[in-house]
Each structure stands twice: as structure tokens, then as C-alpha cells.
């Protein structure tokens, strides 16, 4: 199969491949500059702004958008929604690649990659939220690797190992949900230490809850986006089961996303009320906050509901893309736009072009690896030699 699928999707010198090649080349140059010249050579980070888009986008957004893995696995294996089974492998693969790229992005920000295991071996630091995030991400990346492994083992023809990996599915799913609940919320909890730096409309004692609930929305929306993109570009790789279940996955996940968005909207409004921040809505930051709350939460909630009611798959797909953009906006608001809001504009952070290059580079690497795996391994189709689990 690999011979026939080596160049599936596009010819070798297609526009996508050429652009991807240029991005990879630029990314590699910046990588050399970053690890030879340090952070100051390629970033605008300073003591006021120690976290830039490598954390705000690559990590915060990356972890949220990779939530489709635990959301889909939980729906199918814990809540018994077997009709969504065909969405599990693509979602787990997206999650696995997402978390892998998050860890790689962390190397760019932290530097000295050989020190990555230090939280576990050099000191315990168990009172730090960062330790909890590090532990959960490390463990969950392992869980995602094991959840993904049956597809790779089927591709390699290692039947016994594959059967063992399949037996672990339920345990891994439960473990994945627990770890995701912990670290998705902890990423929000990191900002609890900075009440004077984060604008009051985004700062809230409920911020861990906001991050967790919005990660569920991100996961559901990403599965819809990924499903629609897979159908567009890898239709020839999809079997009948995937084709048949595609519509029910979109409708089911759209319905769930609408409901969770409604809940998210409610807790955000209660957050404003509990901190008595109503007056701040009349300010410039308040207007931007309303754009996020009404434009990227209330609007997609309504559009998802209309799409589900009318079984309008196109509307649901576009709403999913809009919602994913909303998650990006939210994470960038918290980590960048509303952070250090009181500083004069001369002291505010704006990413260096090299930071942006690395972020685009990592997203491109993710897309290329996804394409490589999907065109070779049984992700969008079921291997006839291995029964459904």
C-alpha cells in the first residue's frame, strides 16, 4: 500500500508542497539561530513579557485544539456512543501530533532540551502548577502515543502487540480524561498568580474552569474541522463506514458543541457578575471582550444550534472553523492582548517575525506528518484484517 500512497493528494511540486518546503527551510534557519544565539536573537521577549506566542499560541492554543482526542475517546468508549467510532482514530492522531508539537514548541521557549526531564529528576516542585502541567502533558503524551499505537502496529503487521494495545483502550481513555481535566484547567490556573497583570475581564477565579470547558468546545470543533478537511483532501482513503458516519459525527459533535458553548457563555457572564465587572464592558477592552463573548461564543452557539436543527452540514463546518478561531482569540487575549494591559505601549510585547515563523513552521510540520500518516496507516479506514474494537 505504501508504494501507491507515497504521493497521495498532490504531485511532488504542487503549490502546497513548495510553500511547505519554503516554510520548513525558514523554520530550520530560525531554529539554528534560536539555539545558537539564544532567545534575544529571535524573540521580543523581555522581563515584562517572558511568555510570547510560543506559549500563548503554540502551547495554550495547541493544547486546547488537541482536546479532540480525549473528547472523542470519552464519547465513544466511556459514554458508549459507538456511532462516532470512526472519528476516534483521526481525533487521537490529531491530539497526539498536537501534543508532540506542543512539547517541541516548549523546547524553543525553554531552551536546553536536555533539561526537560528536570522537573521529575532534579527537584520535585510539586507545589508548582507548572510541575503539574509538565507531569500531565508528559503522561498524556504517552497515553496518546499508546492510544494511537494500534493503527501504527496494524500498519507494521504486528498483530500480537496491536491486540495488547487494543486491550488497554478503556484504561487509557479514562486516564486520558483525568489527565486532560487536570492540565487543561491548570493552564488557565497559571494566570491566577497574576491578578494585577491580566485585565479584570479576563482574570477570574474561574479561569481554570473557563480553560477546561473551552477545551471541550475546541476539541469538538476541531474534530468537525478535521473530519471535513480529511473528506476534502483524503476522500480516497476513507472507507464506507467513515463515509456513512461522517454526517452523524458532524451533527452529533455540532449539537454537543452548541450545548457546551451555551454553558460556557453562562459561566462567563456569571464570572462578570461575581467580580462586578459590568462597568468595564463600557471601556475599549470591554468592547473587545464583548467581541469575544458575543462573536466567538454566543454566535457560534446559535449557529451550531441552527445547523443541527436544519441538518445543515455546511453551516456546522463553517461554525466549527469560526469556533476554533474563537479559541485562538481567547488564548491570545489571556496570554498576550489583555496581559500587561496597564503597561505603556512602548513596553508591550509584539512577536518578532522569527517567533511567527517558528509558529507557522510547527503548524506546517504537524500538517505534513498528519498527511504522511493518514496516507499510509489505517486512520480513515478500517484494516480488514483487524476487527473493529
Amino acid at each position: 500500500m505504501s508504494d501507491t500512497t507515497a504521493h497521495v493528494g498532490s504531485p511532488r511540486y504542487s503549490a502546497f508542497n513548495v510553500i511547505a518546503g519554503i516554510i520548513l527551510a525558514l523554520g530550520l534557519v530560525v531554529t539554528v539561530l534560536r539555539f545558537s544565539g539564544g532567545l534575544s536573537s529571535v524573540t521580543n521577549l523581555d522581563d515584562y513579557n517572558p511568555w510570547g506566542i510560543w506559549i500563548g499560541f503554540d502551547l495554550m492554543v495547541g493544547v486546547a485544539l488537541a482536546a479532540g482526542g480525549y473528547v472523542t475517546s470519552a464519547a465513544v468508549y466511556i459514554f458508549g456512543m459507538k456511532k462516532f467510532h470512526s472519528a476516534v482514530r483521526p481525533a487521537v492522531l490529531t491530539g497526539f501530533l498536537g501534543y508532540t508539537l506542543v512539547v517541541i514548541a516548549l523546547h524553543y521557549d525553554v531552551g536546553r532540551p536536555w533539561r526537560l526531564p528536570y522537573p521529575f529528576i532534579m527537584q520535585q516542585g510539586t507545589t508548582s502548577l507548572l510541575f503539574e502541567v509538565a507531569a500531565c502533558v508528559a503522561l498524556y503524551l504517552t497515553v496518546l502515543f499508546l492510544e494511537f499505537s494500534p493503527a501504527a502496529l496494524e500498519w507494521l503487521g504486528l498483530e500480537r502487540a496491536r491486540n495488547w494495545a487494543v486491550k488497554l483502550t478503556l484504561v487509557l481513555t479514562i486516564f486520558g480524561v483525568i489527565l486532560s481535566t487536570l492540565h487543561q484547567s491548570s493552564l488557565g490556573a497559571l494566570f491566577l498568580i497574576a491578578p494585577s497583570k491580566l485585565h479584570p475581564l479576563w482574570y477570574s477565579p474561574f479561569i481554570p474552569l473557563y480553560f477546561f470547558v473551552s477545551s471541550v468546545i475546541a476539541g469538538l470543533s476541531m474534530v468537525i474541522c478535521e473530519s471535513s478537511m480529511s473528506y476534502k483532501y483524503f476522500k480516497d482513503k476513507m472507507d464506507d463506514t467513515h463515509m456513512k458516519e461522517k454526517e452523524s459525527v458532524t451533527l452529533g459533535f455540532g449539537k454537543a458543541a452548541s450545548l457546551v458553548l451555551a454553558g460556557y457563555f453562562v459561566i462567563k457572564v456569571i464570572g462578570i457578575a461575581s467580580d462586578n465587572n459590568w462597568s468595564l464592558l463600557a471601556t475599549g477592552y470591554g468592547a473587545w471582550y464583548l467581541v469575544e463573548l458575543l462573536g466567538f461564543v454566543a454566535l457560534p452557539c446559535f449557529l451550531y444550534a441552527v445547523g443541527v436543527r436544519e441538518k445543515n452540514i455546511t453551516l456546522i463546518k463553517w461554525t466549527a472553523a469560526w469556533t476554533v478561531l474563537g479559541i485562538v482569540v481567547n488564548r491570545l487575549n489571556v496570554s498576550w492582548i489583555a496581559f500587561n494591559y496597564h503597561l505603556p505601549s512602548s513596553e508591550r510585547y509584539f512577536p518578532h517575525i522569527a517567533e511567527i515563523v517558528i509558529s507557522i513552521f510547527l503548524v506546517t510540520v504537524g500538517i505534513l506528518i498528519f498527511r504522511y500518516i493518514v496516507t499510509r496507516m489505517p486512520i480513515l479506514y478500517e484494516d480488514p484484517d483487524y476487527p473493529q474494537h
Binding site: 451555551a262 453562562v266 461575581s274 462586578n276 459590568w278 444550534a305 443541527v308 436543527r309 436544519e310
Partner: protein, 56 residues
């Protein structure tokens, strides 16, 4: 209670007569309780709307 727009904490305290933590919680919790009633009704209506297209 006056209805003009409040632009600072001092102004807020004068307008709503919030002097103590108790005042603050009485005010915010009062609003939250009203919101919760609205949310309970709103979510029921929304659920009916969301599931309105179901065949069964």
C-alpha cells in the same frame, strides 16, 4: 439605586454604597441569583430549540 454608568471603583462605591465585603457580596450575589433564574429558563428554551429538529 442610580442607573448612570460607573467609571471607577470610587464612583461605584458612592453609587451603590458598597463599603464592606458584605455589601459587595450582597450586591453581586443578588445579581447572580437573578441571572440564575434567567439562565434556568433560557437554557430550557435553548434545549427545546436545539433538539427541535430531532426526528424522534
Amino acid at each position: 439605586m442610580k442607573t448612570r454608568i460607573i467609571r471607577s471603583t470610587d464612583q461605584m462605591e458612592k453609587t451603590m454604597e458598597i463599603h464592606t465585603l458584605h455589601d459587595f457580596f450582597s450586591h453581586t450575589k443578588g445579581i447572580i441569583y437573578i441571572l440564575i433564574i434567567a439562565i434556568l429558563i433560557g437554557m430550557t428554551v435553548f434545549w427545546k430549540f436545539l433538539t427541535g429538529g430531532d426526528e424522534d
